[in-house]
Assembly symmetry: C2
Homo-oligomer: 106 residues x 2
DNA sequence: CGGGATCCTTGGGGATACTG
DNA sequence: CAGTATCCCCAAGGATCCCG
Protein backbone atom coordinates (compact mmCIF):
# COMPACT_ATOMS: atom_id res chain seq x y z
CA UNK A 1 0.00 0.00 0.00
CA UNK A 2 2.00 2.93 -1.17
CA UNK A 3 1.31 6.15 0.46
CA UNK A 4 1.39 8.29 -2.64
CA UNK A 5 4.66 9.94 -1.79
CA UNK A 6 5.13 13.18 -3.62
CA UNK A 7 1.73 14.52 -2.69
CA UNK A 8 2.26 18.23 -1.91
CA UNK A 9 -0.32 18.28 0.85
CA UNK A 10 1.27 15.30 2.55
CA UNK A 11 4.69 16.91 2.25
CA UNK A 12 3.52 19.92 4.21
CA UNK A 13 1.68 17.88 6.79
CA UNK A 14 4.78 15.79 7.24
CA UNK A 15 6.68 18.89 8.33
CA UNK A 16 4.14 20.86 10.35
CA UNK A 17 1.84 17.99 11.25
CA UNK A 18 2.83 17.30 14.86
CA UNK A 19 0.29 18.01 17.55
CA UNK A 20 1.96 21.27 18.63
CA UNK A 21 4.25 22.10 15.73
CA UNK A 22 2.10 24.77 14.16
CA UNK A 23 1.83 26.49 17.52
CA UNK A 24 5.58 26.39 17.98
CA UNK A 25 6.28 27.60 14.47
CA UNK A 26 3.71 30.34 14.74
CA UNK A 27 5.51 31.75 17.75
CA UNK A 28 8.97 31.37 16.27
CA UNK A 29 7.80 33.20 13.16
CA UNK A 30 7.48 36.31 15.32
CA UNK A 31 10.59 36.17 17.44
CA UNK A 32 13.27 33.78 18.56
CA UNK A 33 12.59 32.07 21.84
CA UNK A 34 14.62 30.65 24.64
CA UNK A 35 13.52 27.19 25.60
CA UNK A 36 12.27 28.39 28.98
CA UNK A 37 10.16 31.00 27.23
CA UNK A 38 8.52 28.42 25.05
CA UNK A 39 7.92 26.25 28.07
CA UNK A 40 6.21 29.11 29.83
CA UNK A 41 4.09 30.20 26.89
CA UNK A 42 3.09 26.68 26.01
CA UNK A 43 2.97 25.28 29.49
CA UNK A 44 0.44 22.63 28.50
CA UNK A 45 3.04 20.76 26.47
CA UNK A 46 5.25 18.38 28.37
CA UNK A 47 8.89 19.37 28.24
CA UNK A 48 9.90 16.07 26.71
CA UNK A 49 7.53 16.52 23.83
CA UNK A 50 8.37 20.17 23.30
CA UNK A 51 12.03 19.35 22.88
CA UNK A 52 11.26 16.35 20.71
CA UNK A 53 9.17 18.44 18.35
CA UNK A 54 11.85 21.12 18.21
CA UNK A 55 14.34 18.44 17.24
CA UNK A 56 12.08 17.20 14.48
CA UNK A 57 11.59 20.72 13.17
CA UNK A 58 15.35 21.14 13.16
CA UNK A 59 15.72 17.91 11.25
CA UNK A 60 13.34 19.26 8.63
CA UNK A 61 15.46 22.36 8.33
CA UNK A 62 12.80 24.87 9.36
CA UNK A 63 14.06 25.60 12.89
CA UNK A 64 17.55 26.32 14.10
CA UNK A 65 18.99 25.95 17.57
CA UNK A 66 21.37 28.68 18.62
CA UNK A 67 23.60 27.78 21.55
CA UNK A 68 25.17 30.92 22.99
CA UNK A 69 27.56 28.79 25.02
CA UNK A 70 27.22 30.70 28.20
CA UNK A 71 27.00 29.94 31.86
CA UNK A 72 24.26 29.66 32.80
CA UNK A 73 23.17 28.03 29.54
CA UNK A 74 21.37 30.13 26.98
CA UNK A 75 19.88 28.48 23.93
CA UNK A 76 17.58 30.12 21.46
CA UNK A 77 15.31 28.70 18.85
CA UNK A 78 14.40 30.49 15.67
CA UNK A 79 13.09 29.83 12.20
CA UNK A 80 15.72 29.24 9.57
CA UNK A 81 15.54 31.30 6.40
CA UNK A 82 13.87 28.33 4.82
CA UNK A 83 11.48 28.08 7.73
CA UNK A 84 10.49 31.70 7.15
CA UNK A 85 8.84 30.56 3.95
CA UNK A 86 6.22 29.00 6.19
CA UNK A 87 5.21 32.37 7.62
CA UNK A 88 2.35 33.09 5.19
CA UNK A 89 1.01 29.61 5.75
CA UNK A 90 1.13 30.01 9.52
CA UNK A 91 -0.61 33.36 9.27
CA UNK A 92 -3.31 31.80 7.11
CA UNK A 93 -3.80 29.06 9.69
CA UNK A 94 -4.08 31.55 12.52
CA UNK A 95 -6.37 33.83 10.53
CA UNK A 96 -8.78 31.08 9.64
CA UNK A 97 -8.78 29.84 13.21
CA UNK A 98 -9.57 33.33 14.41
CA UNK A 99 -12.55 33.69 12.13
CA UNK A 100 -13.62 30.16 12.98
CA UNK A 101 -13.73 31.03 16.66
CA UNK A 102 -15.87 34.07 15.91
CA UNK A 103 -18.05 31.94 13.68
CA UNK A 104 -18.71 29.49 16.50
CA UNK A 105 -19.20 32.23 19.07
CA UNK A 106 -21.85 33.71 16.82
CA UNK B 1 -3.68 21.60 32.68
CA UNK B 2 -5.87 23.66 30.43
CA UNK B 3 -5.20 23.47 26.82
CA UNK B 4 -5.38 27.18 26.11
CA UNK B 5 -8.69 26.98 24.34
CA UNK B 6 -9.27 29.93 22.09
CA UNK B 7 -5.90 29.69 20.42
CA UNK B 8 -6.50 30.41 16.72
CA UNK B 9 -3.87 27.95 15.56
CA UNK B 10 -5.37 25.18 17.64
CA UNK B 11 -8.82 26.03 16.35
CA UNK B 12 -7.69 25.42 12.78
CA UNK B 13 -5.76 22.29 13.62
CA UNK B 14 -8.83 20.99 15.41
CA UNK B 15 -10.76 21.15 12.17
CA UNK B 16 -8.24 20.14 9.52
CA UNK B 17 -5.83 18.24 11.76
CA UNK B 18 -6.75 14.66 11.00
CA UNK B 19 -4.18 12.53 9.24
CA UNK B 20 -5.89 12.78 5.86
CA UNK B 21 -8.27 15.68 6.27
CA UNK B 22 -6.22 18.24 4.40
CA UNK B 23 -5.92 15.82 1.50
CA UNK B 24 -9.65 15.25 1.47
CA UNK B 25 -10.46 18.95 1.74
CA UNK B 26 -7.96 19.84 -0.93
CA UNK B 27 -9.74 17.58 -3.36
CA UNK B 28 -13.22 18.70 -2.38
CA UNK B 29 -12.14 22.30 -2.88
CA UNK B 30 -11.85 21.52 -6.58
CA UNK B 31 -14.93 19.46 -7.23
CA UNK B 32 -17.51 17.41 -5.44
CA UNK B 33 -16.75 13.74 -5.15
CA UNK B 34 -18.68 10.56 -4.93
CA UNK B 35 -17.46 8.33 -2.14
CA UNK B 36 -16.18 5.76 -4.58
CA UNK B 37 -14.15 8.45 -6.34
CA UNK B 38 -12.51 9.48 -3.12
CA UNK B 39 -11.78 5.86 -2.32
CA UNK B 40 -10.12 5.43 -5.68
CA UNK B 41 -8.07 8.61 -5.55
CA UNK B 42 -7.01 8.06 -1.98
CA UNK B 43 -6.78 4.32 -2.06
CA UNK B 44 -4.18 4.27 0.71
CA UNK B 45 -6.80 5.30 3.26
CA UNK B 46 -8.90 2.57 4.73
CA UNK B 47 -12.56 2.95 3.94
CA UNK B 48 -13.48 3.06 7.61
CA UNK B 49 -11.21 5.96 8.27
CA UNK B 50 -12.15 7.85 5.13
CA UNK B 51 -15.80 7.82 6.11
CA UNK B 52 -14.98 8.66 9.71
CA UNK B 53 -13.00 11.71 8.66
CA UNK B 54 -15.77 12.79 6.31
CA UNK B 55 -18.22 12.57 9.20
CA UNK B 56 -15.97 14.68 11.38
CA UNK B 57 -15.61 17.28 8.66
CA UNK B 58 -19.39 17.35 8.31
CA UNK B 59 -19.70 17.83 12.06
CA UNK B 60 -17.39 20.84 11.80
CA UNK B 61 -19.62 22.25 9.11
CA UNK B 62 -17.01 22.37 6.37
CA UNK B 63 -18.19 19.38 4.32
CA UNK B 64 -21.69 18.47 3.23
CA UNK B 65 -23.06 15.12 2.24
CA UNK B 66 -25.49 15.14 -0.66
CA UNK B 67 -27.62 12.04 -0.94
CA UNK B 68 -29.27 11.88 -4.35
CA UNK B 69 -31.54 9.11 -3.12
CA UNK B 70 -31.19 6.94 -6.13
CA UNK B 71 -30.87 3.28 -6.84
CA UNK B 72 -28.12 2.38 -7.01
CA UNK B 73 -27.05 4.79 -4.28
CA UNK B 74 -25.36 8.02 -5.25
CA UNK B 75 -23.89 10.22 -2.58
CA UNK B 76 -21.68 13.21 -3.15
CA UNK B 77 -19.40 15.10 -0.83
CA UNK B 78 -18.62 18.76 -1.27
CA UNK B 79 -17.37 21.71 0.70
CA UNK B 80 -20.03 23.84 2.31
CA UNK B 81 -19.96 27.55 1.66
CA UNK B 82 -18.24 27.89 4.98
CA UNK B 83 -15.76 25.18 4.04
CA UNK B 84 -14.89 27.16 0.92
CA UNK B 85 -13.27 29.71 3.20
CA UNK B 86 -10.56 27.10 3.72
CA UNK B 87 -9.62 27.12 0.04
CA UNK B 88 -6.81 29.72 0.30
CA UNK B 89 -5.37 27.86 3.24
CA UNK B 90 -5.45 24.56 1.40
CA UNK B 91 -3.79 26.14 -1.59
CA UNK B 92 -1.09 27.56 0.65
CA UNK B 93 -0.50 24.13 2.14
CA UNK B 94 -0.24 22.51 -1.26
CA UNK B 95 1.96 25.28 -2.62
CA UNK B 96 4.42 25.07 0.24
CA UNK B 97 4.52 21.29 -0.03
CA UNK B 98 5.22 21.57 -3.72
CA UNK B 99 8.16 23.88 -3.19
CA UNK B 100 9.33 21.74 -0.31
CA UNK B 101 9.46 18.70 -2.55
CA UNK B 102 11.52 20.63 -5.09
CA UNK B 103 13.71 21.88 -2.29
CA UNK B 104 14.48 18.35 -1.17
CA UNK B 105 14.92 17.04 -4.68
CA UNK B 106 17.48 19.76 -5.29
C1' DC C 1 19.00 26.50 32.25
C1' DG C 2 18.65 23.05 28.91
C1' DG C 3 18.52 19.03 28.25
C1' DG C 4 18.88 13.05 27.84
C1' DA C 5 17.04 8.36 29.13
C1' DT C 6 13.09 5.45 30.27
C1' DC C 7 8.91 3.85 30.62
C1' DC C 8 3.90 4.30 30.34
C1' DT C 9 -0.55 5.38 28.13
C1' DT C 10 -4.03 6.47 24.77
C1' DG C 11 -6.71 7.37 20.89
C1' DG C 12 -6.46 7.81 16.06
C1' DG C 13 -5.77 5.01 12.42
C1' DG C 14 -6.50 0.44 10.40
C1' DA C 15 -8.21 -4.56 9.11
C1' DT C 16 -12.07 -7.36 8.59
C1' DA C 17 -16.66 -8.75 8.06
C1' DC C 18 -21.43 -7.67 7.22
C1' DT C 19 -25.68 -4.87 5.30
C1' DG C 20 -29.46 -2.15 2.72
C1' DC D 1 -22.64 1.89 -4.15
C1' DA D 2 -22.33 3.47 0.32
C1' DG D 3 -22.02 2.57 4.15
C1' DT D 4 -22.07 0.15 9.79
C1' DA D 5 -20.01 -2.62 13.54
C1' DT D 6 -15.96 -4.61 15.91
C1' DC D 7 -11.73 -5.38 17.29
C1' DC D 8 -6.84 -4.33 17.26
C1' DC D 9 -2.41 -1.96 17.30
C1' DC D 10 1.24 1.03 17.57
C1' DA D 11 3.29 5.50 17.15
C1' DA D 12 2.94 9.88 19.11
C1' DG D 13 2.24 12.09 23.16
C1' DG D 14 3.24 12.26 28.08
C1' DA D 15 5.27 11.55 33.07
C1' DT D 16 9.30 10.94 35.81
C1' DC D 17 13.91 10.85 37.10
C1' DC D 18 18.58 12.20 36.30
C1' DC D 19 22.54 15.19 34.62
C1' DG D 20 26.36 18.96 33.24
Amino acid sequence: MEDQAGCPVKATVGVIGGKWKTGILYRLARKSYRLSELKREMSWISETVLIRQLRELQAEGVVERIDHRQRPPKVEYALTDYGQSLAPLLDAIAAWGQSHLSHKAG
